[in-house]
């Protein structure tokens, strides 16, 4: 049987000094062997009030020389989905920011326009000293732990759970369950042009302990995309900020999930002691 998926959406994106207002609708057909997709004629979704321009201005005002914005993309969108008989709507906000200073680059990815973590990352970058060996224990800030979780799926580094949500990429309910190994129960479809794949959605970590050692140095910002279980991060230890590389082999404690981040097919950040 051929699965039919339709989507229409409207996106406003701020990128490299441009603003792109984009209207698209399309459909995809998948019979299990051949995946076909293309634009389709549908009534455009109505315009929405965009605040992306203000967000760009607020971020730009936080960053002054010698720090330099390398990449700033702010996106707002609305979309309507239809898969078989199931219909649903979603609104998305995204920020991707890369700021460079003295041979380092902090990377921030957010799914909302609360900029407190941007401010924290920039402040740490400004004060960063030379690279140091990884401390024995490190407290990962929620934005850092969220980036790590997708690459820990299927490992025994930490207990991972998929959090419940209304719809996956095929419109099915996202099941709350502990994730042990693939095949993952739900489907991820970031675009109608992408064939859906099984992925763990809305990840969160769990541990037997929630006793976060607040005396441990804190990893506050990513300096590079996560590579497996390896993090290159900016760490704060008292008054000192330094880059370090951490191979996360065991998670000792996990705090409550705080915020959803656009890593993988979504993950919740929480303070983690590793």
């Amino acid at each position: 049987m051929t699965e039919v998926y339709r989507k229409r959406g409207r996106v406003v994106r701020y990128e490299h000094g441009h603003v792109i207002r984009s209207i698209e609708s399309g459909e995809a057909f998948d019979d299990g062997h051949l995946f076909r997709c293309g634009p389709s004629v549908m009534t455009p979704l109505p315009e929405f009030r965009s605040e992306g321009g203000e967000v760009v201005a607020r971020i730009a005002s936080m960053i002054a020389p010698p720090l330099e914005i390398e990449r700033l993309i702010v996106t707002e969108g609305i979309a309507e989905h239809e898969c078989g008989d199931i219909r649903w709507t979603e609104e998305t906000n995204r920020i991707h920011l890369a700021v460079k200073h003295r041979g380092m680059r902090v990377i921030v990815d957010l799914a909302d326009f609360d900029l407190e973590e941007v401010r924290g990352a920039i402040g740490a970058l400004y004060r960063a000293a030379n690279e140091r060996p990884a401390p024995e224990r490190v407290r990962l800030a929620p934005n850092v732990s969220a980036a790590l979780l997708p690459s820990l799926a299927g490992t025994d580094v930490v207990e991972l759970w998929q959090s419940a949500a209304e719809h996956d990429g095929k419109g099915l309910p996202v099941i709350e369950q502990r994730l042990i190994a693939s095949p993952w129960p739900n489907w991820f479809r970031p675009s109608y042009r992408t064939r859906p794949v099984r992925m763990p959605l809305h990840l969160r970590a769990a541990a037997s302990g929630d006793n976060i050692n607040y005396g441990a140095p804190e990893a506050v910002a990513l300096l590079a995309p996560v590579a497996g279980n390896v993090l290159h991060v900016l760490c704060i230890d008292g008054d000192v900020v330094f880059p370090t590389t951490i191979a996360v082999e065991r998670v000792l404690a996990v705090g409550p999930a705080k915020r959803w981040y656009p890593y993988g097919a979504g993950s919740f950040g929480a303070e983690m002691l590793v």
Partner: protein, 304 residues
């Protein structure tokens, strides 16, 4: 400056001679200064031109029962100027090439091979030095990183093979050792145009030529990257041989990681006319574009 950009594209994935994914895309972007209004409006003429380019490529893809083949054909218009692109990315046994139906030749899979145990001079066959220069000169130039160390006998230029770029501006050749690429390109109607390389051509002019007896011969490069923060070039070599006199041993894939300035100093010889390397799909800011790549047979000292 205001311009209207329109594009139609067909993108297909074939595996083992069977079509498994087919994507159509079309739309237009009305660009006024820094504002772009994009919509998936179809232009029947461009759609027809893009689809027409698929026929020959599909015939080749259908015959390759052991390959993964991606076919992309597009037709675009900027104001009144139209052009087409058609490329095939073919992967057989770990060797990937990017080519056109007109220049297609089947890549040959290679056996596993030995691991390189020492740093040796490298002979870059098959135009593969163009990939090294794409990273070390081209991408470096995009970030204003230029070197004074290039050999005097070597020129590295970006020479667009089309007249008007994706913002409606006439194209021209630029010297990548002193200037950043000037041709603005975009992957789709929903993308921001950015200056990109189009066709890198390296030429030698009376270069020295002395072939080391003990060396690595590079034939194919799987990919490359330039990190502007550290000015390091990374290349993934997918097909190479260890050569010691008459003895030739196939090498396992390996990676080179070398500073940009070191690349410029390491080039010690070249011979012949530029050879077309079968393709570079260059990804930057999430936009994939094909960049033509030409270089003569070239020798570098060890790259470490």
């Amino acid at each position: 400056m205001e311009h209207l950009f329109s594009i139609a594209e067909r993108d297909e994935l074939w595996f083992g001679g069977v079509l498994i994914e087919s994507r159509a895309s079309h739309g237009q972007a009305l660009c006024r200064g820094t504002e772009i209004d994009a919509a998936d409006v179809g232009d029947p003429q461009l759609i027809e031109r893009a689809e027409a380019r698929m026929t020959a490529m599909r015939a080749l893809a259908r015959e390759m029962s052991d390959a993964r083949v991606r076919l992309v054909a597009s037709a675009r218009r900027v104001n009144d100027y139209e052009r087409e692109e058609a490329t095939m990315s073919v992967t057989v046994g770990g060797i990937s090439i990017v080519t056109t139906p007109e220049l297609f030749s089947r890549p040959s899979p290679r056996a596993g091979g030995a691991t390189p145990s020492e740093a040796l001079p490298i002979l870059w066959h098959n135009g593969s030095a163009a990939v090294l220069l794409h990273e070390a000169a081209g991408h470096a130039a995009e970030h204003g990183h230029f070197s004074s160390q290039w050999p005097k006998w070597l020129s590295i230029t970006d020479e667009p093979d089309f007249e008007i770029d994706d913002t409606g501006v006439p194209t021209r050749a630029v010297d990548l050792t002193t200037h950043a690429p000037e041709c603005w390109r975009r992957a789709s109607f929903r993308d921001v145009p950015i200056p990109r390389m189009t066709r890198l051509i390296a030429r030698q002019h009376d270069a020295p030529w002395s072939l080391p007896d003990h060396r690595v011969d590079v034939h194919f490069v799987a990919g490359g990257a330039y990190e502007p923060l550290t000015e390091m070039v990374t290349l993934s070599i997918s097909a190479a041989d260890l050569v010691h006199g008459e003895e030739v041993v196939s090498l396992a894939p390996f990676q080179l990681r070398v500073a940009r300035e070191r690349v410029a100093r390491a080039i010690v010889g070249a011979s012949g006319e530029p050879l077309r390397y079968p393709g570079v799909v260059c990804s930057r800011e999430g936009q994939e574009v094909v960049v033509g790549s030409f270089a003569p047979l070239m020798i570098t000292t060890e790259l470490v």
